[in-house]
């Protein structure tokens, strides 16, 4: 006897859960968050053309490469975000624990989770379309619409390819023939985790190639070459084909995934390596700090890694973005790379504000945080976290342009990281109310830097 519930039954349950979850958050909070999202998008709009679309100031005959590059990079970003979104829903969705003890239909579960993830990506695609409006204004509606189609296709492809890669990774994790390879690349992680860590790399690589080709196709189509339509459609076609393969793969690996994830968790939970389980990303850097500062920095490192690991991990998207922005011969490349890494620094700096909001108030009495020490500790953590994307972006600039230009990238990123750390430390003192001024500060700092540096003839 297997499950008899139709797909619509799963959809109805997920819809109810989503509606009540949203209601529990409160209309005001949801409205504020949506408003913040719109405000950030609008605030970033004036920066987009000078930072990422500077080619629009040149003659129209030179736009082709710039347009293809801009849509390609935006598509790559959406592809990566969608892959991570698939990870957070299909593999580690919040409903897995409740469902994995019942004979649910994995194909139906995966389908409704992918639909939910797709809905979650719509605002990002819309924000990208808004941020790309200078293209519509300068180059025309058609090139803009074609580019948006590429970006939306990248999101769809990222979601489907991510789901396939992650479900496939479960089969790899369980297959003893892959064990030698996984052991070779797993580092301190449990073997099955290695399959999951690297799962999105091949899907992003292949998907990335399709998206870049689609971006070229969009430009070609905009110039009247109809063959470009095939390339624009390619991510969509690949996503549709891939979607056809999801149900059978889900039926094969969705239930085993629960066992694999439990295995990973059990091993991380210190049964095997208790010392390693206690360590967190970059905690070793506190050894160079005085005791008072080091203690607070360690708390923040631990909070970031254990409570909001996705925020820390997403920094590598900033690294990817910094490489994409810096890998150019254009004059503004090093600054753009630095600015993207700086966005990563401001992003991760928010952890200090979240930490202050999430920690119980009595900790403030038991564990006082002298402002100067807290400021130093927060700045240290944010700079340490942000150094990753900064160094990766600087390395790309160093290879493409030269070491001198890489210093500019590094300087912009590290300077912003220090300021972000300071701002986060100050805003953390307002606990839950500190996030809005922190975001406002981030937007102002980004805008100010872009205006000052790019306006200075860069």
């Amino acid at each position: 006897m297997n499950a008899t519930a139709p797909l619509s039954r799963y959809r109805a349950v997920y819809r109810t859960v989503r509606r009540r979850e949203a209601a529990a958050q409160g209309l005001a909070a949801r409205g504020l968050r949506a408003l913040l999202f719109v405000a950030v998008t609008v605030a970033l709009l004036p920066l987009v053309q000078p930072v990422f679309l500077a080619f629009l100031d040149e003659a129209p005959s030179t736009w082709a490469d710039g347009l293809a590059g801009a849509w390609g990079r935006a598509g790559l970003l959406l592809l990566a975000v969608a892959g991570l979104s698939a990870h957070g829903t299909v593999l580690r969705g919040p409903a897995r624990a409740a469902l994995s003890l019942h004979p649910v239909d994995p194909a139906a579960v995966t389908r409704v989770e992918l639909e939910a993830a797709a809905r979650g990506l719509v605002p990002l695609v819309a924000a990208t379309a808004v941020l790309a409006l200078p293209i519509a204004r300068t180059a025309g509606i058609v090139p803009w619409a074609l580019g948006v189609a590429v970006v939306a296709g990248a999101a769809a492809l990222g979601l489907v390819a991510g789901a396939l890669a992650l479900l496939g990774a479960i089969a790899v994790a369980e297959d003893p023939r892959w064990a030698p390879l996984l052991d070779g690349v797993r580092g301190n992680n449990p073997r099955p985790q290695a399959a999951l860590i690297y799962a999105l790399a091949p899907s992003t690589l292949i998907g990335g190639w399709l998206v870049m080709a689609a971006a070229d196709g969009a430009v070609a189509l905009g110039q009247g070459r109809l063959a470009g339509a095939v390339w624009v459609a390619l991510p969509w076609i690949a996503a549709a084909i891939g979607l056809g393969g999801v149900p059978s793969l889900a039926r094969r690996t969705w239930f085993p995934a629960s066992a694999v994830l439990a295995e990973v968790r059990a091993r991380y939970d210190a049964v095997e390596h208790p010392e390693e389980a206690r360590r967190v990303y970059l905690d070793w850097t506190v050894r160079w700090l005085p005791d008072g500062v080091g203690r607070l920095a360690l708390l923040l490192f631990r909070y970031g890694w254990r409570a909001r690991r996705a925020v820390v991990s997403a920094l590598w998207l900033a690294a990817l973005g910094a490489v994409a922005a810096g890998w150019t011969d254009a004059d503004g490349g090093p600054l753009r790379a630095g600015l993207v890494a700086a966005i990563g620094a401001w992003w991760v700096g928010s952890l200090a504000v979240f930490q202050a909001r999430d920690e119980p108030q009595f900790l403030g009495v038991w564990l006082p945080r002298p402002p100067a020490l807290a400021l130093a500790a927060t700045a240290w953590c944010v700079v340490a976290w942000a150094l990753g994307p900064a160094l990766v972006g600087a390395a790309a600039v160093a290879v493409r342009v030269g070491p001198g230009a890489a210093v500019i990238t590094l300087g912009v990123a590290v300077g912003h990281a220090a300021v972000a750390g300071g701002a986060a430390s100050v805003c953390a003192r307002w606990r839950g109310r500190g996030l809005a001024p922190y975001v406002a500060g981030a937007v102002l700092a980004g805008a100010g830097t872009a205006a000052a540096l790019l306006g200075g003839g860069a």
């Binding site: 006897m1 297997n2 499950a3 008899t4 519930a5 039954r9 349950v13 109810t16 859960v17 009540r20 979850e21 529990a24 409903a95 624990a97 409740a98 994995s100 003890l101 019942h102 004979p103 649910v104 994995p106 369980e174 039926r251 239930f255 085993p256 629960s258 066992a259 694999v260 439990a262 295995e263 059990a266 091993r267 049964v271 095997e272 390596h273």
Partner: protein
Amino acid sequence: MSAPVVQIAGVSKTFGRVTAVDGVDLSLEPGTFVGLIGHNGAGKSTLLSMLVGLLRPTTGTIRIAGVDVHADTRSALAHLGAVPEHPALFEYLSAREHLTFVRDVRGGGDVDAALDLTGLGDDADRPIREYSQGMRRKTALAAAMLGTPKVLVLDEAINGLDPPSAARMKQALRARVDAGTTVLLSTHVVETVEAVADRVVMLAHGRVVADVPRGSLGAGALEQLFLERLEAEQQARRSS
């Protein structure tokens, strides 16, 4: 004697250098109430997690109603109702909605009867996220029993319930056993097993150290036997 509905053959589970379950062989017949007792860290939850497909054995196989749990988890779950140590439920559904969904997935079951069993009353229509631990546990138990599965695997499922609820659940489980269901209930509370089990399996340091019919033991003898076997197992480990 009928064919076993649960077959655990040579099952071990290791995490690196730690052996959580060590060569367990068990066969459970239909219509048996089996109490699984053991000290904290004896491997009870690990064994039960493997039984329901949430962990894969390092060695050995587990079959539920003839289905290999790890080769075809979904089919095995159709014969199995389970309550893990920390029940996971849809937090934003009410107990009634949760049970209705489970009934639809399992293809049958009486939701109203299941709700009566929980004794939640009007609370059955409140979101589960507002429930106490005991209310969650009762909801999970009712969900596990929907669709009359052949086997119920319950990890510390009765601990922490208020006395009337615990008595009602024990009575309901007994009725299921009498109707042919096999119940495997893990606990570290010896009195619970003494009250309900037909057969007692004792686990110490991952190994089965005793497997006896409850009827063969006099009042209070279970705790004594458990302590003796545990001591013997610890001595054997020290000497090896």
